[in-house]
Point group: C2
Chain length 167, copies 2
DNA sequence: TGATAATTGTTATGCATCATATCAAAATAG
DNA sequence: CTATTTTGATATGATGCATAACAATTATCA
């Protein structure tokens, strides 16, 4: 599980009285100004919190993104969905297997092109997605707005999107 | 290699005239407003560019961060360095083996505590780090400033650091 | 002091992610 | 009709990340 790392840190925090005690704490130096470094660390934290908020539904960020896409774009095939999410087709197969085995989505053989599958959410899938959205909004994103402020949060997302697209 | 994905995309870009052609392009929906999603994608792009810039020195972001830390904090042991970088000690062993086999750093048995190693950069390690810093500044970070502007870039790093620490 | 516990580096191992090659079935191009 | 391409799928390997366990060493404390 992904909580273990946090639990590990928490365990250390309970023993501040040791030779351990950060021993003249280490200098990060230019590391703290490196975008890649902060980016990676922030991403891990965000995913960790996402998993925590989504624990009752047992959805990973990747799975959530698939459900969102299928909801907005019903009937697309695996290649299309996988491509827009940056998932390689071979790896997307097992992922879909998992969602399908939980009856969250379904593969429907296309009549036009019998190689491909139309992907759709099941009713259960739609229900789970609706609950998931609420959890994300209420627990995850709300906490972000609290930490950064709505304006800053929007600006942050904007800059990240710009990097993701134009870099 | 990590370039292959980009090469793959490039290959597709050369064939815009297919049934493929993004076929009434897929709606991202609320995905584009999800911080976790943009964060992950931006992080991948940044790491990809970092690797490209650092190709002549063959340093990964993780390796670069280790060299930086060793430079600023010579004589620390493996546990200390690994902990501050969020690397688990078992995984740090192989990583150090790699750097040490390239003569970039060295493990020096401590006389006070013969269990631990003092970690230091070799002369070659210092030289490589110096070149690496220049590459990062000239190629990588410069491009970011160009895309976002220096002020926005600083604000971005600040917000990410806040998330990484306080979330 | 001496028995017990904790720490350090290490190995082994498992799981998840990611990437490539390859394949059969089906569709498309020429 | 033949050759190529596309789709979903399988097998496979590399890498990152996490846990358990171990020997050597050090710290704790009764």
């Amino acid at each position: 599980m992904t909580v273990s790392r946090a639990a590990n840190e928490a365990a250390k925090a309970q023993h501040p009285a040791r030779k351990d005690a950060e021993d003249a704490s280490i200098e990060l130096g230019e590391l703290s100004e490196l975008l890649g470094y902060t980016l990676k660390r922030a991403q891990l934290k965000i995913f960790e919190d996402f998993l925590r908020c989504m624990a009752p539904l047992q959805l990973t960020p990747a799975q959530f993104s698939v459900l969102l896409l299928l909801d907005r774009n019903p009937g697309r095939n695996q290649t299309e969905i996988a491509n827009t999410l940056g998932i390689l087709r071979p790896n997307f197969v097992a992922m879909l297997d998992g969602l399908e085995s939980r009856d969250l989505c379904a593969r429907i053989r296309s009549v036009n092109d019998r190689r491909s599958h139309h992907l759709v959410l099941t009713d259960k899938g739609k229900a789970v997605l609706a609950r998931a959205k609420k959890l994300v909004a209420a627990k995850h994103e709300a906490r972000l707005n609290e930490l950064l402020g709505a304006d800053n949060r929007a600006a942050l997302v904007g800059m990240l999107a710009k990097i993701a697209e134009q870099f």
